[in-house]
């Protein structure tokens, strides 16, 4: 269920100029606060499109999953949402991505500012080669925040990691297990209090138990954050997400160019039980992919 309650207490909600619609009583699932409006977006590397003509709205305080076979451009699409693709010189974005109505690629928009609001967790756990404490404190420190100790503790509690690491905050993060490292990376992202957390296959390098912990965590996190997750694992999408977008790899007539295309985007339950497109059905039932 979507709830706006806890957000009102969060300082960040006030920082962002969010024009809040009055609470809608109706059943229309798209009428909720939109975090992102992706309109006709095509992302290319050099001249080759990686994903074409994607249009979708991403809703606040929900988990939105992007699924699809390898090469369908789901990670590429995700990385556009916080301008991470700017780091790849050949990448270009056409179309429009609105973040609370503001053009994310507007010429006055600073990607550094964007990434403060829209954090990211990566496929491979990538803690800094520093202590547990310094990993979490890094973000708040470079952003000039105060009360670092409190933020570190809060973030570790938030990522359900506090009890495991409270006695070894000064130990190097590389001494932790893979699952702990990934939760540390989630805590590190939470410490700068973004509004959105993008997760790029966050569990693909983890064992099932660690994966379970992170999935449980995501259910809690969506109370505070809006989450967009890319995953290879359909069961994971079914378990954690409220809405699911299914992308496929499209080939042109000559078979030389391939790109990702959005096939269907709907509530997760619908995608998995009553998909409208036969390609979605084939994929989620395991006939292809």
């Amino acid at each position: 269920m979507h709830s706006d309650g806890p957000n009102d207490e969060r300082g960040l909600s006030q920082q962002i100029a969010v024009t809040r619609e009055p609470e809608q009583a109706g059943e229309d699932i798209w009428a909720k606060d939109k975090v992102f409006e992706v309109n006709d977006v095509t992302v290319s590397y050099g001249k080759k499109p990686a994903v074409r003509d994607v249009t979708m709205d991403i809703v606040r305080n929900e988990v939105t999953a992007l699924i699809g076979p390898s090469g369908c451009g789901k990670s590429t699409l995700l990385r556009c949402l916080n301008r991470m693709n700017d780091l790849i010189p050949s990448a270009s974005v056409e179309g429009e991505i609105l973040y609370h109505g503001q053009d994310l690629y507007g010429h006055k928009v600073d990607p550094v500012q964007v990434r403060k609001m829209i954090g990211m967790v990566f496929q491979k756990p990538n803690p800094f080669p520093k202590s547990v404490y310094d990993n979490i404190a890094f973000g708040p420190k470079v952003l000039g925040m105060k009360d670092i100790d409190e933020r570190v503790e809060k973030a570790l509690h938030g990522a359900a990691l506090w009890d495991e690491v409270k006695d070894r905050l000064d130990d190097n993060a590389y001494g932790m297990s893979g699952g702990q490292q990934q939760r540390l990376c989630i805590a590190r992202t939470m410490a700068v209090e973004p509004e959105v957390i993008l997760m790029d296959e966050p569990c693909s390098a983890l064992d099932p138990i660690s994966t379970g912990k992170i999935e449980d965590l995501m259910a809690e996190l969506k109370e505070q954050f809006s989450i967009v997750i890319v995953t290879h694992n359909m069961q994971q999408a079914a378990r954690v997400s409220d809405k699911t977008a299914f992308l496929i790899v499209e080939l042109d007539a000559t078979d030389e160019n391939r790109w990702g295309q959005l096939v269907e985007y709907d509530e997760t339950g619908k995608i998995f039980t009553n998909p409208q497109d036969s390609r979605t059905e084939d994929y989620v039932t395991g006939k292809v992919g």
């Binding site: 991470m84 990538n126 890094f138 470079v142 952003l143």
Partner: protein
């Protein structure tokens, strides 16, 4: 399908084929020979180092025993005139000369070298990097005598015009010698530090960018610390080059054993003394001969301590990733 049948014979391996021999078909002498040769090559540098240490030590012992120079007089004496009458063997002036030129060189080269490395690894476009890095490495290969001449005939008059306090006795000056050494070691620092910083996994950069860090913060707070062991290695190599540099100081520093860190003064360094004195006409076993080796030993010990110190620094500050 016929073809399929004949392939099918593989299936009955155990029945038809005799048990193959598990013994080596030959003695592989060639392989053993190569192993010995490789080991011998590796041993050569160990033998050379030992030989150098011994050849330095024997005349050095002679310097302190047969020539009867006191160790305290040598290490703490403030007057260096080993070839004069009366001779004095206080090594401090030339020790300070070495430290002075190296220090001025490092003060110039470390910030510029590290800044270049950060620019090369984090800011430069691939095209700019492709041009700049090879040029930088060519600079590292310029013969030091050419850099010495450049310092003497170009840098020294130029700087004397702008900052006269840098050159007390034109054209010689410790500071200009340091500057020339600095030019020489900037590429070492820049190139090795750049390599170290580029080998930092890009995942760490992405993590920092993802938190809203600016490029500068990513470079200075994440990439640089993660590359610190390579950076320190580059500084040690550069420092050793600076201390061991002979030709530049011989030409530019002026060869007067003044006990001073003043960059404008002319100084004699330990290497310049050796280079200047070790000519063909000194007789083996004379005091002058032994003096050269005593100074050489001291130089050797200093670089050794520097290296050991650096190894400890690297161990202490290293940020190990994976």
């Amino acid at each position: 399908m016929e073809a399929r049948d004949s392939i099918g014979a593989f299936g009955q391996r155990g029945a038809a084929r005799p048990l193959p021999s598990l013994e080596a078909p030959s003695h592989r002498y060639g392989e053993k020979l190569i192993k010995v040769l490789l080991g011998a090559c590796a041993l050569l540098s160990v033998v050379t180092t030992t030989a150098i240490v011994i050849s330095l030590l024997i005349p050095t012992i002679g310097f302190f025993t047969e020539d009867n120079i006191g160790i305290t007089e040598f290490l703490f004496g403030t007057s260096w005139a080993p070839t004069f009458q009366p001779a004095s063997f206080g090594v401090l002036p030339i020790l300070v000369g070495t430290l002075s030129t190296s220090l001025w060189g490092m003060m110039f080269a470390v910030p510029i070298g590290l800044a270049s490395a950060i620019w090369l690894s984090e800011y430069a476009s691939p095209r700019a990097r492709k041009v700049v890095k090879p040029v930088l490495e060519v600079l590292a290969g310029i013969p030091t005598v050419a850099i010495g001449i450049f310092g003497l005939v170009f840098l020294s008059p130029l700087i004397d015009d702008i900052f006269p306090f840098m050159v007390n006795v034109p054209p010689f000056s410790a500071g200009i010698a340091g500057l020339a050494i600095g030019l020489m070691i900037v590429p070492i620092i820049a190139s090795i530090s750049d390599d170290a910083m580029r080998s930092v996994p890009s995942g760490l950069r992405e993590a920092a960018y993802g938190l809203g860090a600016t490029k500068l913060k990513v470079a200075t707070r994440v990439v640089f610390p993660a590359a610190i062991s390579g950076v320190i290695a580059s500084l040690v190599l550069a420092g050793s080059r600076a201390i061991g540099e002979t030709m530049v100081v011989l030409l530019v520093a002026g060869a007067s054993p003044n006990l001073t860190f003043d960059p404008g003064s002319s100084v004699l360094t330990m290497t310049a003394f050796i280079g200047q004195t070790a000519t063909g006409d000194i007789s083996t076993g004379s005091i002058t001969y032994d003096t050269i080796f005593a100074v050489g030993s001291l130089l050797f010990i200093i670089t050794l301590i520097l290296n050991m110190f650096a190894i400890r620094m690297v161990r202490k500050y290293r940020e190990v990733y994976e």
